[in-house]
Symmetry: C2
Subunit: 121 residues, 2 copies
Amino acid sequence: MSKSETKVLHALERVGGFASAQELHMVLKRNQEAIGLTTVYRALQSLVADKSVDLLRREDGEAIYRLCGDAHHHHLVCKNCGKTVEIEGGVIEKWAQKSGEEHGFRDIGHTAEIFGICSDC
Amino acid sequence: MSKSETKVLHALERVGGFASAQELHMVLKRNQEAIGLTTVYRALQSLVADKSVDLLRREDGEAIYRLCGDAHHHHLVCKNCGKTVEIEGGVIEKWAQKSGEEHGFRDIGHTAEIFGICSDC
DNA sequence: AGCAGAAATGGAAATGGTTGTCATTTTCAA
DNA sequence: TTGAAAATGACAACCATTTCCATTTCTGCT
């Protein structure tokens, strides 16, 4: 594991959830852990390829990253105020795995998000 | 409904599934239905706001659109060759609805996609 | 029909996240 | 130490999407 990958992992731990490449870059800058933006992107690519980090998408398409090994869960997001609740998703894991296998797929992953309007909005 | 929105809806029917804004623009060009790219984007924004069209994301973050009212289903996509299989997702509908309600959300929707490597790859 | 104001249109330029390029620096084995 | 290979980062290129703005089309009114 290269030095930059270590730094990026460390930054991901610090933010403790999701972060975009640009956000991680800013976090690293603020902590005298200076590292180029290009290198952050490269490190994230390797980490995703190694399955050390998960890649998701925000609603606007921006890529966001999360440490694997975090309990795998999904999100319930308010379309109005952005409030986010973590949801248990065992049902989904099984559904994805089963559906994939039935069609002869391997190396199966999935994304699932729920959105709506929260009680405060 | 403006003229351009009609054209875009028509193009979406013709492609019969998912299409990006750029793809829809090309489809329209090819069929003497010339219309500016900007207008395609604007029409899609309105249609999404009206809930006439659904907005999803490809894995690379590009926005893709689909007619609402199509039987609601999900997709199993090969990460390697792009082959797509439509999947029945009743389980997911229930899971999304239930999870949302439990947290006091209303107007609940969801996205879910499965991806993997297909048997031909 | 003729007119004014509003809405729609589309080409060009701007934006912003992401990736490619390439010269320089660091690492590491011989 | 030394030379090849990998890593790094500033900068430019890319591409989907949005913004800008001048022009055209629509609409209601007389």
